[in-house]
Amino acid sequence: MLRATPEDAPARTFGLLVHMLVGIRLVQLLPWPIALAVGARFMVADPVLPLTSYALQTVWSLFYAIRALRTGTLPDWVVTTDVLVAAACLVMSGRGWAAANGTSWGNSAVYPAIGVALSTAVVWWPTRAVAAGVSLALCYVIGVLPELRTGGSIIASTAGNVLSLVGFSVVAGLISSQLMRSARTAAATTAAMLDARERAAAQRARYEERQSQYRILHDTVLSTLTAIARGADYGDRQLRGRCAAEADLIRSMISNDTEPTTSLAVELALVVHHQAALGLRVHCQTADMPGELPPSVIAALAGSCREALNNVAKHAGTDEAWLTAHGGPGGEITIAVVDRGRGFDPRSLTGGLGLDRSIAARMIEAGGTSFVDSETGQGTSVELRWPK
């Protein structure tokens, strides 16, 4: 299952904004060469200044675009350089044009400068972004200052460009900061929800664990103690057997220093305890038990053991069985349920078919395997292994 992490939403929104800025920037480099290509002619005072400006702006913008697309970030040094390049180009480009041309769309530095103002608005909003927008506007004015003296329509188009440089950045800043804020709110809400859900699940697991332990103790130790207290008239042997089974159970539930108690150990102890109450003596031994197993695996192993022991009680003609379990270095586990009863002929189809089917299905479903080994008169051995 794919689970979105809460941190994703702001990162995704910012990534989207970066892509948008890169797109705008690349588009803003196009008008000037297109105008030249279709034959527009501008009056140039000094061709070196506009060409240098355009070349510088193009090289830097390409670097900016590639870097932003690759990393998805806009660090301070990139934005600062961006502003400085745009400012320098505005001054150079403005001074390069002949009178009345520097304020028109022919000034190749103006459009990219608007893109720069937009990116400062996204990254630096509000104070530094507005300051950058105003500085760019100032540099533009400084660039076209000689032309302003001609007055009239020049002043109007200059005012339009100044307004664009400052105004666009303010509008972009307001919108992008709003977007980022809602993304962060969404992320925080998601995180809080996930957290609450995990806490609730942990609490429920603890509660269920405690309830199941109470239930186990109630059904076993408590009922035995109550029976003794009321002067139970069991035979000495039977009472002892029952006490021994309870002792084994409690021992397996309390962690001791030699082996960490796993819930598999508890489950196996319960299975053995159940059989002991039904009259089957199960010699149970474990070694190197794995620390943790998936609940479905524990359920499959315990269920298969119960099934195998039921089979011993029903078919083996003996009241004694062995259950041994040992773990391996990689967290794997092997369990054997063995009896010394009558066994069956593995070549006869009826023998262990039911046994094989019910246990094999459980183990395969949990990602493990099972083997049944028997021979007439030699008992039966059921071995469970997980993983396969």
């Binding site: 021994a244 008169g377 008992g379």
Partner: protein
């Protein structure tokens, strides 16, 4: 009718000792002669017994392997008995010369068979002891051949010797010989000859065992 086997028992639980006495009473050839709650108390009485049933973890916090060594030095054969399988101490007692290890949850016929085997000078490899030996991960463990390990592992699961032999792919007699060899490797691992005195004791022990064998055959 076989000769009566004289048994001693050391357990810190008086009730268990009494229970054991009345339990073994049911059998004609086994008799509990002397019981004690500590090894020192048992040795002080200098009872004439052949087999001592020794509880693994006594309440006086004596070291199980030392208890075995003391009893062996006094000439007794020792069969370990315990409620909780404690692998570390079980291994140590077997290396100290205990003839076998049996858990308290076994029935009377199993216990009686083990006592008879030990009294006859043999050793008892119960499935529970086989399990502990088969899971022995100590670097100092005696080296077992792959076939010995295979038979031991199959037998440790509780299989009959017949089934264990079949699972390991060897003949019944071979499997039996392997298990005996495993047991012998363990008891030999615990008898390093450090000094001349030890060596003399070892010779005396071996001769004793040979003498006993001679008596029985």
């Amino acid at each position: 009718m076989a000769e009566i086997i004289r048994i001693g028992a050391i357990d810190d639980d008086r009730m268990l000792l009494d229970g054991l006495r009345s339990w073994l009473c049911q059998l004609d050839d086994l008799r509990v002669i002397h019981v004690a709650t500590t090894v020192d108390a048992f040795l002080a009485a200098a009872a004439d017994v052949q087999v001592v049933l020794l509880d693994l973890n006594l309440r006086d916090h004596s070291v199980p392997a030392e208890n075995v060594a003391l009893l062996r030095a006094a000439g007794f054969r020792v069969l370990m008995v315990s409620a909780i399988p404690d692998p570390e101490h079980v291994l140590a007692t077997v290396e100290a010369g205990a003839a076998g290890y049996i858990t308290k949850d076994n029935d009377l016929p199993t216990l009686a068979a083990a006592v008879r085997e030990v009294a006859a000078g043999g050793s008892v490899l119960t499935p529970e002891l086989a399990f502990i030996l088969s899971r022995d991960r100590r670097p100092t463990r005696p080296r077992l051949s792959p076939q010995e390990q295979a038979v031991l592992t199959a037998y440790a699961k509780g299989s009959t010797l017949q089934a264990a032999a079949r699972q390991a792919g060897v003949a019944y007699g071979t499997a039996r010989a392997y298990l005996e060899r495993v047991k012998r490797k363990y008891s030999e691992a615990g008898r390093p000859t450090h000094t001349k005195l030890d060596l003399a004791n070892r010779l005396r022990e071996d001769r004793l065992e040979l003498d006993n064998l001679g008596k029985e055959t």
